[in-house]
């Protein structure tokens, strides 16, 4: 492996800007770090170069641990967005800078310089000053300079950012060529997905300091695992759908059309988030002439001609109340983004205002368990108040999902018969923290909610998320939910395991193993880096003590039995929780 990052964390004033990033980049690989500005990608690159220290974690280049090695001894080449050429030196002096530092002989220097200038197609420019070159040429010089000392790793920090489109493409080709010719391991940072697609062997998508997903460009585009990657890599319509063993259906009502998806997990019906790419949407004048499955009817709202493609915004009319978009675009209606190729346009011409029928060719279901939120409270005003809670609003907007409202009279009456109420739950149920929260949670879980989110009033955005599950049956689901939540938070994940005070000799190693397994599974299956803590004592009181340490924490509890909640965590939940609590409940799978 050329570059190995292991749990690299960098904080600025306590806030992790690079959060537990682990990645292995192979020899000669072209790896692109893609993310919006502020996602921590440049900081990560600077950490690899050695220009920024890290608080935690390990960085190795070609198997050599360089975590505490100065930048000048790491043997990397770095190219900056603003070129960072030495303006008082000629091109030749710029390129030979690293060679002079190494006291290389003049003849060798000159031949190396000539070779590099040929590589970046700038022969004969030796004696120019940077100011006499165009932006594209300057960046070529910067690339040549970064390669002069034969670094093992080439790092590029938004190298095309300051260039216009044509030159950008040219330089992109040059860099790809140079990289292939030298076979040098390269990491490029960019916020431009087109650039990432054009260059990368593998893309790593970063957001909020976390490396969310990694994979080949086509893999990431067709099968993203997270909402963020789905919407950041290309455009995507996010739809809420119900998935059962028969397939997936978009409408709530009777109009059930099933879309088959590959690898839909068996089990009971539940809500999922489906990604519908704009190019997978089909428009037709009649429902019968659709090739794909019918989704809804709509009206063309906006048309933009972009050359090869036509971009449309279609407002859902009939079926808007059935088809649920995860993200509601504006208050006045639901829109679908659609792109159509020239042949499609010729086959069925549309104009703004026209009514059309919308079909779906292909959808991809995200394996993310937190699909949406449903605020539950006994009265309308309380529901209203709950859905305006800042943390909930923040989470929903980051997760690009909606907060549905639901009036639950049963929540008012602690001793009432909870199960008597009817209704199917979608997504996570959200309730306000109250003294009798435990009863409410039990009630909602009994009625089919899989996750219950308990919110104290005005809870701050958590800095730490504590994760704990009552038994091994709850592990997989708890990890999945934790990973899904943590992707959208600037927080650290900490798995807290509690061992009984008087554990037997056989219990102790088992507990240790569970701890290590949990970490390994979190990373391997969900890409979630979490820290682990082992505490000794009573579960509820240890968790309470840990939660008492600071106010900006969130607790995720996993259970596989409803009554287990009261048994194991009764003490913890007896008073009004002062921290946000997310209870994850999955029945153990029955072996058929």
């Amino acid at each position: 492996m050329s570059i190995t990052l292991d749990q690299v964390t960098k904080r600025y004033q306590g806030v992790p800007v690079v959060n537990d990033v682990s990645v292995e980049i192979g020899d000669g690989e072209f790896f692109v770090l893609l993310g919006p500005s502020g996602s921590g990608k440049s900081t990560l690159l600077r950490a690899i170069a050695g220009l920024t220290g890290v608080e935690h974690g390990r960085i190795a280049l070609h198997g050599r641990d360089v975590t505490h090695v100065a930048a000048r001894e790491r043997g990397v080449g770095l190219v900056f967005q603003n070129y960072a050429l030495f303006r008082h030196m000629t091109v030749a002096d710029n390129i030979e800078f690293a060679l002079r530092v190494r006291r290389m002989k003049r003849a060798e220097r000159v031949s190396r310089r000539k070779e590099l200038l040929r590589l970046v197609a700038l022969e004969g420019m030796d004696e120019r000053l940077p100011a006499q070159l165009s932006g594209g040429q300057q960046q070529r010089v910067a690339v040549a300079r970064a390669l002069a000392h034969k670094p093992e790793v080439l790092l590029l920090d938004e190298p095309f950012g300051a260039l216009d489109a044509k030159i950008r493409e040219e330089l992109r080709r040059t860099i790809r060529q140079v990289q292939r010719e030298l076979g040098i391991t390269t990491v490029l940072v960019t916020h431009d997905q087109e650039e990432a697609f054009a260059l990368a062997d593998r893309i790593g998508v970063m957001n909020l300091g976390r490396l969310l997903e990694m994979g080949r460009p086509d893999e990431l585009y067709t099968r993203p695992a997270t909402r963020f990657v789905a919407t950041f890599l290309g455009a995507a319509n996010l739809l809420l759908a119900r998935q059962s063993k028969h397939g997936i259906q978009f409408a709530n009502g009777a109009a059930k059309r099933e879309h088959t998806v590959n690898g839909s997990p068996p089990g009971r019906e539940h809500e999922v988030v489906a990604v519908l790419r704009p190019e997978e949407v089909e428009l037709a004048s009649a429902r019968e002439s659709l090739n794909g499955s019918y989704l809804a009817a709509g009206t063309i709202e906006e048309m933009v001609f972009t050359g090869a493609l036509e971009r449309l915004r279609v407002r859902l009319t009939k079926g808007a109340e059935e088809v649920q978009l995860a993200r509601v675009n504006g208050d006045d209606g639901h829109y679908l983004e659609v792109t159509r190729t020239q042949p499609e346009q010729r086959a069925f011409q549309v104009r703004p205002g026209q009514n059309v029928f919308i079909g779906v060719r292909r959808v991809h279901v995200l394996p993310t368990p937190l699909s949406s939120f449903t605020a539950c409270a006994p009265s309308e005003s309380e529901v209203e108040h709950l859905s305006m809670q800042p943390l909930l609003v923040e989470l929903a907007s980051r997760m690009k999902t909606r907060v549905a409202a639901r009036i639950e009279p049963a929540l008012a009456d602690v001793n009432g018969d909870c199960a008597a109420q009817e209704g199917v739950f979608s997504g996570a149920a959200v309730i306000a923290a109250r003294p009798e929260s435990l009863k409410s949670i039990e009630c909602l879980l009994a009625r089919g909610a899989e996750e219950v989110f308990v919110l104290p009033p005005n809870a701050p955005s958590p800095q730490r998320v504590l994760i704990h599950w009552a038994d091994e049956d709850a592990r997989a689901a708890t990890l999945a939910v934790s990973a899904s939540l943590l992707r959208h938070l600037h927080a650290e994940a900490i798995y807290v395991d509690v061992q009984p005070q008087h554990a037997t000799d056989t219990q102790r190693p088992q507990g240790m193993r569970a701890l290590l397994d949990a970490r390994a599974e979190a990373q391997a299956v969900h890409g979630l880096e979490m820290r682990t803590e082992l505490r000794i004592g009573d579960v509820a009181s240890e968790l309470a003590r840990r939660l008492g340490e600071s106010t900006d924490q969130l607790l995720i509890l996993g259970v596989s039995e409803i009554k287990g909640l009261a048994q194991r965590f009764g003490e913890l939940l007896s008073a009004t929780p002062r921290w946000p609590l997310l209870v994850v409940y999955r029945e153990p799978e029955v072996q058929a």
Partner: protein, 287 residues
């Protein structure tokens, strides 16, 4: 060659925000003449009324030679001290964030604003044998007030803001990225300073040096208090000129003034040429 043609071909008048090229250019010429050139010409004319013999006698007498040595020597030394420490102050102000930075930044300009006599008296008080600093230097046999060291100290104080204020913007121009780039290329701290930072700020440092030096040569108010004004030892040329004036020897004063004018002009010209040469050296390599 091309550049030369372009220079000639470029029209004298260029559209600009302020109207009336004729008016502004005329005003510039008039202003320079009235405030700078005419008084200087008058000075030279006054000196020219002397015979060569008298002139040479006046400017070459031992007391005058001693005063040149002190005036130009101390000014050069003070400017050189400022070159180093002014750079360090500018570096601190540009590169670091610390509480009270704004106040220190404002304090730099104090020597500009203070009447020079006040600075002189204050310095004398501090550096006198029983002053705050002077009393600790005394046991080592170092006397500051009433010696050439005192003169240098005063001129350093007076020249410092010139240095800091010219270097500051130049240092701010040196992007952190350049240092980072040099570091990834394997350069150590000294190398980065020597090859990257210094060449970028050197022109500004030379300008600062020239300004501080010029200010030092012309300084009068602060020096006469701390110098003690012993003929041959701690007497600066401006003071000698004042003494001549008080003796109604206007011609002698003008002669000394002319010498100062010539030496100052020569040194400033030399510094400017040095800078121009430095610039040309970079450009030449590209032709």
């Amino acid at each position: 060659m091309n550049a030369a043609v372009r220079d000639v071909a470029r029209p004298l008048r260029q559209p600009s925000v302020l109207p009336g090229f004729g008016l502004t250019f005329g005003f510039t010429t008039f202003f320079l003449s009235a405030v700078v050139l005419l008084p200087l010409a008058a000075l030279v004319l006054m000196a020219a009324r002397m015979s060569w013999h008298d002139f040479l006698h006046t400017i070459l007498e031992a007391r005058a030679l001693g005063s040149y040595r002190l005036s130009f020597g101390a000014s050069t030394l003070a400017a050189a001290i400022n070159l180093v420490f002014g750079f360090i102050i500018a570096w601190t102000l540009v590169r670091y964030e610390f509480p009270g930075k704004k106040i220190i930044d404002a304090l730099i300009d104090m020597p500009f604003a203070l009447p020079t006599a006040v600075s002189g008296i204050a310095l004398t008080t501090v550096f006198a044998q029983n002053g705050w600093i002077g009393q600790y230097l005394e046991p080592f046999g170092i006397k500051v007030a009433y010696t050439w060291i005192g003169v240098t100290v005063a001129l350093t104080l007076i020249g410092m803001p010139f240095m800091v204020r010219t270097v500051q913007p130049a240092l701010a121009e040196v992007q952190k990225d350049l240092e980072d780039a040099a570091e990834t290329l394997g350069a150590g701290r000294f190398h980065i300073f020597r090859r990257i930072i210094l060449p970028t700020v050197l022109p500004a440092m030379l300008t600062g040096f020239a300004l501080a030096f010029a200010r030092g040569v012309g300084e009068y108010g602060s020096v006469i208090f701390i110098a003690g004004n012993l003929p041959m030892k701690t007497e600066i040329t401006p003071l000698l000129i004042v003494i001549k004036l008080e003796e109604f020897d206007y011609k002698g004063a003008a002669a000394l003034g002319t010498v100062m004018l010539v030496i100052s002009f020569t040194m400033l010209l030399a510094i400017n040429l040095l800078q121009a040469w430095g610039r040309r050296r970079h450009v030449r390599t590209t032709r």
